[in-house]
């Protein structure tokens, strides 16, 4: 019997091998993307006012060496310690908070939602792997159930953030005028991943046999909303929708990072750290 796949789309028997192949492909694409980015950054020189050294263009070490050198050099502005930068500037987005509280709120929601879901998926994957190699300490099925609630909450956090982002781009004139395809691809793809995630999740209620929607509760509304009132296709194609979501999440929310504006999620923190929190 094909191994059941639990991560992400639990309860729906996608074969483990299919998901593994897709996951590895996504990781491969991610690594290739980072390879090309670091290679691009390494076309630069190793210090202020210099030209790239002959024969070193594109050599990976150029980037890492230059970064390390700058990180260790004295800054005329301040020597903010790295921990303070990590906590206040990278994790709490202090620089954004100073500028625009709404944008900060939106960013935090997306950041917490995305990072949370990403981490929980990673955790689920780890539990599954541990189980697979023969250590039966945690039952993946139980663990998957345990994650349902936090996953759902984080999904809504992310969704709310994405909705604010879309609304800003649509309704705030200045933001709208300055939006280009580089910006919109990011938001639209994120929106698609989140929505398919909710639809897949709602379909699961039925697939799992949770049909007793008595009482006015969250699950009831959640189910009705994401299946458009329980429309048949959402229930018939639970498995396909779940598979689509998993693939989109892996490719868009993960593998796409180095090829798109998502790269800022890596490059901006690196910039904050190397510039010691920036000028002020």
């Amino acid at each position: 019997m094909a191994m059941e796949y639990f991560s992400g789309v639990a309860g729906v028997s996608l074969t483990f091998n299919v998901m593994m192949a897709v996951a590895f492909m996504a990781v491969f694409l991610l690594l290739v993307g980072f390879y090309f980015n670091i290679r691009k950054w390494s076309q630069g020189s190793e210090g202020w006012g210099l030209d790239p050294a002959d024969g070193r263009k594109g050599n990976f070490m150029v980037f890492f060496k230059t970064y390390w050198k700058q990180l260790r050099s004295h800054s005329i502005h301040h020597e903010q310690n790295i921990l303070e930068t990590l906590v206040f500037d990278v994790l709490l987005l202090r620089r954004t908070a100073r500028a625009d509280p709404l944008r900060w709120f939106m960013h935090m929601l997306i950041f917490i939602g995305w990072m949370g879901l990403f981490s929980l998926s990673g955790l689920m994957f780890a539990v599954e792997m541990i189980y697979l190699v023969g250590f039966h300490y945690i039952d993946p099925e139980w663990f998957r159930e345990f994650l349902q609630f936090p996953n759902q909450i984080l999904g809504y956090v992310l969704l709310f953030g994405v909705i604010i982002a879309i609304a800003r781009r649509l309704f705030i004139k200045k933001v709208k005028e300055n939006t280009n395809s580089y910006d919109s691809i990011l938001i639209v793809t994120l929106f698609i991943v989140v929505v398919t995630g909710f639809v897949a999740h709602a379909g699961r209620y039925i697939a799992f046999g949770i049909t007793d929607f008595t009482g006015v509760d969250f699950i009831h509304y959640d189910y009705l909303f994401w299946t458009l009132g329980g429309m048949t296709p959402f229930l018939t194609y639970v498995k396909e929708i779940a598979l689509t979501h998993s693939i989109l999440a892996l490719f868009i929310g993960f593998a796409f990072i180095p090829y798109s504006k998502y790269i800022h999620a890596v490059a901006a923190p690196l910039s904050m750290i190397v510039n010691k929190g920036g000028e002020h």
Binding site: W41, S45, G49, I76, A268, N275
Partner: protein, 430 residues
């Protein structure tokens, strides 16, 4: 088919700077503050966000994923020229770096882009390309004979041949805006501070070459200037070098060590820092109200003294210590100050843009020196600590006066010139 060569050769840009381009989240906060973007009536190309994005596209087209796999895509000469014009419409004021949500060191990016374009033959802007030759020939940026560097010195000023303290005059104060040099020298004399200068041997600090991306020209001219200055300062036996020009001060503090590749063997201070220390030590006795009557004074932080190197308090302390001076800050002050519009070669390259920014800054001062709802009873004071700021702010004031704006009637003076007044000294040569 042979691959085309990349249109852009990565010169003068560090690996970290290339990464910073990818860190921009296009939040637009920089554009909210950029003085030239606002001063131009929001010309899209001048927005810092736009410049970062366009340069990122240039890099991606030349060295990105698709370029590596399928060959670089062409960037037309028109695109380069348009970019060059836009990247020079920047005073290097640095507020975009201060507010950048990704903490990108934008000023260094602009300067690196300028140098890159100069190296590929697209830059600099307009007549800026005459500067390296002029400075190479005369060692100053005003094309004056070397001995004109001494013509500012009044007979009453005593300058030692060698001293522990050296006053680095700078081309602007030494040749054009000599009131600043005269005031500085007289104030130091009055306070009993023995000082020397480099006299005819002083060379341009290199700032104009660095800011316009031309420091490598004329066989590494900027580096040669710095080497000459450092050697001569050492020969004078000075351990502290004072600057009254913010541009020179910034250059010697930040750029000189980088050009030399080593630390300077002396300490550098802006003269306002030096005076603030003297005031704190109780060594300064003001003898009169600088303007004979009580005045309201506000202070413009020169970008190259404030944001670039973090000197905010000293000039304020000096002003606040004087009799008859009530200090008030403008709404935009310190790190969030609005640039005067002169720096980065904008004053010489794009005088209209520079003037429109200056008018905005004078407007900031007007709103605190003469609040709308109060009658104007006297002429108040707008202080700064940089000869470029003084010049451009004065032009902005004059333009507003010419537009019949009576509230623009403001005295614009350097902190050190005001100090000279408070010590009963004249700030003109004769």
């Amino acid at each position: 088919m042979a691959r085309r060569a990349p249109s852009l050769d990565i010169k003068n840009m560090t690996a970290v700077q290339l990464m910073e381009l990818d860190g921009c989240m296009r939040c637009g906060e920089c554009a909210e503050w950029c003085p030239t973007y606002e001063g131009s009536g929001f010309s899209p190309g001048l927005s810092p966000r736009d410049k970062i994005y366009r340069w990122k596209r240039f890099i991606d087209k030349s060295y990105g994923f698709w370029a590596t796999l399928f060959g670089p895509r062409e960037i037309t000469e028109e695109e380069f020229v348009a970019f060059k014009d836009d990247v020079h419409g920047c005073t290097t004021c640095g507020i975009c770096a201060t507010v950048c949500e990704a903490a990108i060191n934008t000023v260094e990016l602009w300067e690196a882009m300028r140098a890159n374009l100069v190296k590929r033959g697209t830059g600099p802007y307009g007549k800026q390309n005459t500067m390296p030759k002029i400075i190479n020939d005369t060692f100053n940026s005003y094309n004056e004979p070397k001995d004109h560097r001494l013509s500012w010195i009044p007979d009453d000023v005593k300058i030692a041949d060698k001293a522990d303290i050296l006053y680095f005059t700078g081309c602007t104060a030494g040749i054009k805006q000599t009131n600043l040099a005269v005031s500085t020298a007289r104030v130091l004399n009055k306070l009993g501070v023995e000082f020397c200068t480099l006299g005819e041997d002083e060379a341009c600090c290199g700032s104009v070459l660095i800011r316009t991306g031309q420091f490598h020209k004329e066989e590494e001219l900027a580096k040669r200037l710095v080497q000459s200055n450092v050697k001569n300062i050492e020969a004078k036996g000075a351990t502290t070098v004072l600057y009254a020009c913010s541009g020179c001060f910034r250059a010697s503090l930040v750029d000189w060590p980088r050009l030399l590749g080593e630390k300077k063997p002396f300490k550098v201070m802006h003269v306002s820092q030096f005076l603030a220390e003297k005031i704190k030590a109780g060594e300064v006795d003001w003898v009169q109200k600088p303007f004979g009557e009580d005045k309201l004074v506000t202070y413009h932080d020169p970008c190259h003294l404030g944001r670039h190197v973090g000197v905010y308090d000293a000039p304020r302390k000096v002003l606040q210590s004087m009799p008859g001076m009530e200090f008030v800050d403008m709404k935009r002050n310190r790190a969030y100050q609005r640039c005067c519009g002169a720096g980065g070669g904008v004053k010489s390259g794009m005088p209209e843009l520079s003037l429109s920014v200056a008018k905005l800054r004078v407007g900031d001062a007007m709103s605190v020196l003469y609040p709308e709802d109060e009658p104007k009873t006297k002429t108040n004071i707008f202080a700064q600590a940089c000869p470029f700021c003084k010049r451009n702010l004065s032009d902005g004031r004059d333009a507003l006066l010419a537009e019949e704006n009576p509230r623009a009637d403001i005295v614009i003076e350097d902190v050190i010139e005001i100090c000279a007044r408070a010590l009963g000294l004249s700030n003109v040569k004769d």
